[in-house]
């Protein structure tokens, strides 16, 4: 009986290990906490819009976000926000409107996960990037965002001009 209970508990823990949650070791928080932290710290927001069970999210976590340097770069310089694409959990937009996490997908017209959204510390969208990306891609996006290049150039113009 004890063994069965332990097995049930173990399987229950395994079942709640969300495959497409944010990558391990990163300080991702929910939208409201991330927006509050970004405003307080003056850091841009990196929003990971993922889906429960999403294979490409899992792939990105394992292939890209496992990079120790990327983890340090993003953990230190961004307010990291994770949003579950199908969740009914509520969040508050910078406008004050309260919507569900799933509704954020409709507002972003998200067509695929993962979707990565860069925002100013005030919560204004800078750009959104869908799909699997490499470590180098995220390093380039970081230079574009934190370097303030988005104020003068499109991402394509910026990337076209990189050495």
């Amino acid at each position: 009986m004890k063994l069965i209970t332990m097995l049930l508990a173990a399987s229950s823990m395994w079942a709640t290990t969300v495959l497409a949650d944010p990558p391990p070791g990163y300080p991702f928080v929910d939208f409201d906490a991330g927006l509050k932290a970004a405003r307080a710290d003056g850091k841009p927001i990196f929003l990971y819009f993922g889906r429960y069970g999403c294979a490409w999210c899992d792939h990105t976590n394992k292939k890209t976000f496992s990079d120790a340097g990327l983890k340090k770069l993003y953990s230190e310089n961004y307010a990291l926000v994770y949003v579950d694409a199908e969740s009914g959990k509520r969040l508050t937009l910078p406008s004050g409107e309260r919507i569900t996490e799933a509704e954020l997908g409709a507002r972003l017209q998200a067509f695929a996960t993962p979707l990565f959204v860069y925002m100013t510390p005030q919560g204004d969208k800078i750009m959104q990037i869908p799909g699997f990306k490499t470590v180098q891609d995220f390093r380039d996006y970081d230079r574009y965002v934190r370097g303030g290049h988005y104020k003068q150039k499109t991402l394509l113009e910026f990337l076209g001009g990189k050495s």
Partner: protein, 391 residues
């Protein structure tokens, strides 16, 4: 030029021939740039008809916190000023008609679910535990409610029978669809009472470690069959990655003599956002092959806020919004006994600006009542209503 206009008119004719629409009316009497109405609810049951009266429920923050409202529209009149249903933070209200101008509304308030007989009646708390995402259905002289209720670490689906006695609403029974504690999250239940009185409940279920629409049936509304999947495309991890495709927000409608139809958002084509899919239970209490609802012009576009409405006469209409024309518009597609027809934009809920989040119902005469959000950042969002009859 005239020939081109004539050609366009001819091409547009099949799409517009089905329904004759009334001029849209505004439902909410208070609007503003910082007031945000929402029509989100489990099974998207935000409008109902009772006798000649139309009832619409929604949530907005005009009073400084999210509260739920009901507006009634008597026959041949506009909407009366809305009444507030809630006292504390309120979300995702639904409404059903009982006939003779009476309604039952239900909503989440302060983390519990409540229901109320309207226009006169007091609120009844349906759940003791934390609960949300309540929905209602009426059939065979019985009112059913379903919601997602905390049970251990996760929420599970509970179905209740409600009764009206001496102008008061009471709860007769309430039990979970499955007796055991859930092993992952369940939510967003949809209910339908078929013509034979049997109850179908569908919901989002994460036990397979991705979101799958599940369904169960009950002959008596008390004892439910083991859940089955609505989605007929089995999926799993790909090369050891992930767990399966996404899907969300199942909706149900009773249809024909004994049938039930399900419509939900499905991401089996994962590069074009959610598509609208449907499945039919013709009375066998088994849902068959899945059918894609939207036409090819909506194929490369994400669909949102899908729902289905049906009636005993066999009418069946699916609605949703998408931005295929550049901005969100409300679309509908009608079942023609073999397939869903061409997508038709709802007049008044299409064109410049954002029109989205449809809720709808068919009345006993077969008229279609549609409510949607017309979003304007500067002037504020209007809750809009229109009625359509078959030509």
């Amino acid at each position: 030029m005239r020939i081109a206009a004539l050609l366009l008119a001819v091409l547009a004719w099949p799409a517009q021939a089905g329904w004759e629409w009334s001029e849209p009316l505004t439902v909410n009497s208070v609007q503003g740039a910082a007031i945000f109405p929402h029509l989100e609810s489990a099974n998207r049951r935000g409008v109902a008809v009772s006798g000649d009266t139309v009832g619409v429920v929604w949530e907005d923050n005009r009073d400084g916190s999210p509260q739920c409202y009901l507006a009634l529209k008597p026959a041949d009149e506009g909407f009366q000023p809305e009444i507030r249903l809630s006292q504390a933070d309120c979300y995702e209200p639904v409404v059903v008609g009982l006939g003779a101008g009476r309604f039952v509304a239900a909503w989440e308030e302060a983390g519990k679910v409540h229901a109320q007989l309207l226009p006169d009646g007091s609120a009844l708390k349906l759940s003791d535990a934390e609960a949300a995402q309540v929905t209602l259905a009426v059939g065979s002289n019985t009112i059913y409610a379903a919601w997602a209720e905390q049970a251990g670490r996760f929420r599970r689906i509970v179905v209740a029978q409600l009764a009206v006695k001496a102008d008061a609403l009471s709860m007769e029974t309430a039990q979970p669809v499955e007796a055991g504690l859930p092993i992952d999250e369940q939510g967003w239940p949809a209910l339908a009472v078929a013509g034979d009185g049997s109850v179908t409940v569908a919901w989002e279920d994460r036990r397979a470690r991705h979101t799958v629409p599940m369904v169960s049936h009950s002959r008596d509304g008390r004892s439910f069959a083991p859940p089955a999947r609505l989605a007929d495309q089995r999926s799993g991890s790909v090369d050891g990655l992930g767990a399966g495709i996404g899907s969300m927000r199942p909706t149900l409608a009773a249809w024909g003599e004994r049938g039930v139809v399900a419509v939900w958002l499905d991401k089996r084509d994962f590069l074009s956002g959610y598509d609208v899919y449907a499945a039919f239970d013709t009375g066998t209490r088994r849902f068959g092959k899945n059918v894609r609802v939207q036409d090819n012009f909506g194929d490369n576009m994400a669909q949102w806020h899908a729902l289905v409405v049906g009636d005993a006469g066999g009418r069946l209409v699916a609605l949703w919004d998408d931005a295929r024309d550049g901005t969100p518009d409300v679309w509908l597609s009608e079942w023609d006994d073999e397939a869903f027809g061409d997508d038709v934009a709802v007049p008044g809920a299409a064109g410049p600006g954002a029109q989205s989040d449809p809720v709808a119902t068919l009345d006993v005469a077969g008229a279609l009542h549609v409510v949607w959000l017309d979003r304007d950042e500067a002037a504020g969002t209007r809750v809009r209503y229109a009625r359509a009859v078959r030509r």
